[in-house]
Symmetry: C2
Subunit: 232 residues, 2 copies
DNA sequence: CTACAACCATGTTTTATAGCACAAAAGTAG
DNA sequence: CTACTTTTGTGCTATAAAACATGGTTGTAG
């Protein structure tokens, strides 16, 4: 399924908090089994229905996790940034993937066979704790999201997405959001049509909350944006 | 916060799959620390913002987990039936509760201090695995739900809720769904206003998909209901 | 039994948002 | 450079669903 190029990297000695908790033997096991895979812009990483086999860690780039809805209206469920783990839910739930993962931009992913991860988990409570924590946080986010996406109005939903992007990817020196999304992706994040994303973005510009230059979004009045996000 | 009456029950020797995996010492620990708490109809079990301290297991009754939305429009996130564990997400995520839990009908809940659970988890991989699995499944459901609630039309959403109730609580001999909800709860489950829940329920009746007698819902054409749920 | 509250039902109005059509701009390939 | 596709922008229309209004029904407390 995944053709890996066989860079074996010593990521397990890196800073990633999780693997710090391993002993030397466990690290060795990881080193032997980890592989790096590179993805081009817009390349599929996994597809709904695929059998999950590997834990993935985004080393470089940006990835979106989304679900296909009716009539081409996709819903972005989660966005991954370095260094974040993903693709484990389906395996743990003993299901196929329910989502699609696509690289937003050229990305590098570290793949670790789930069997290896499970082996380590058996003897290492800290790794279990990591996944339990991660899943719990994500479940909370998902619950919040359900309510926000269903109950907030368009302005609130778009503002929320922008705030989310700010918090996830940060701002450059000139207050530009550090990720460049197509209007369509912005719409898919915010549960609205592309037209409405464009329209609403325009009104935000005219209200001097943001400035837009192509896909660059510069945040002018972050406070107001957060307010709209909260109350919208 | 929870005044427990101190029935100490021997539930840990019961059939619940999870605790089968404990050794005698761990069971003893549970027996000593578990307590049963009874809740009346419509009584709050926990509230958003509360500090999570206990793992809860619904022994008897029915419980709804919901989030308060804007303008009194609540969204039911999850429904609990016996014997199901709940209330652990917030603790594992190291957050306060993000949701409210209320007993739909007179219910009994077994409370186990999270500290005790954690103690057992440290030495028992199976319990960790149980929570990881449960969280993973729930996260998958939450993701599905987000898309369904945002993209399906009213008919589809209500049909989906009815199917969910059938699958969760089952049908009596005469095909009556085994839980009696107010129209408002049905609406809160399906992300719509109460009026629209009533209206749509009526059209289902006129289409001979269901029959309604007060809060009793009798399923006449389950296949059609599932079809509407899927395609709606 | 009566009064009051909660719940259920249905019709009408309003509004937010999807859907569509079309044009301009930008990006891409030959 | 030119042709072609994709993305962005904008106005108009259609419509699903909320909001509102009103009345009936059922349940409950005194």
């Amino acid at each position: 399924m995944h053709e890996k190029d066989e860079d074996i990297i010593d990521f397990s000695a890196s800073l990633t908090d999780v693997w710090r908790l391993l002993n030397e033997q466990e690290r060795e096991l990881l080193r032997k089994n980890a592989a790096i895979q590179h993805y081009k812009k817009n390349q599929q990483i996994y597809t709904e229905g695929d059998e999950p086999t590997h834990l993935m860690c985004l080393v470089k780039g940006k990835v979106k996790i989304y679900k296909e809805g009716v009539g081409g209206r996709n819903q972005i469920i989660r966005m991954i940034k370095p260094v974040q783990y993903f693709a484990y839910r389906a395996y743990f739930a003993r299901e196929k993937y329910l989502t699609d993962a696509v690289a937003f931009e050229a990305s590098s992913v570290c793949l670790i066979p789930m069997k290896v991860v499970r082996e380590i988990m058996k003897h290492n409570y800290n790794i279990c704790k990591f996944f339990i924590r991660q899943l719990s946080v994500d479940l909370g986010i998902a619950d919040e999201r359900t309510v926000n996406l269903t109950q907030k109005h368009i302005r609130g939903r778009l503002a929320e997405s922008l705030v989310f992007l700010i918090d996830s990817y940060g701002l450059e020196d000139d207050a530009t959001i550090n990720i460049y999304l197509a209007r369509e992706d912005l719409a898919n994040l915010s549960n609205m049509t592309t037209s409405n994303a464009i329209r609403t973005l325009s009104t935000f510009v005219s209200e001097k909350i943001i400035a837009v230059d192509g896909r660059k979004i510069k945040v002018i009045d972050e406070e107001k944006l957060r307010k709209i996000s909260k109350l919208g």
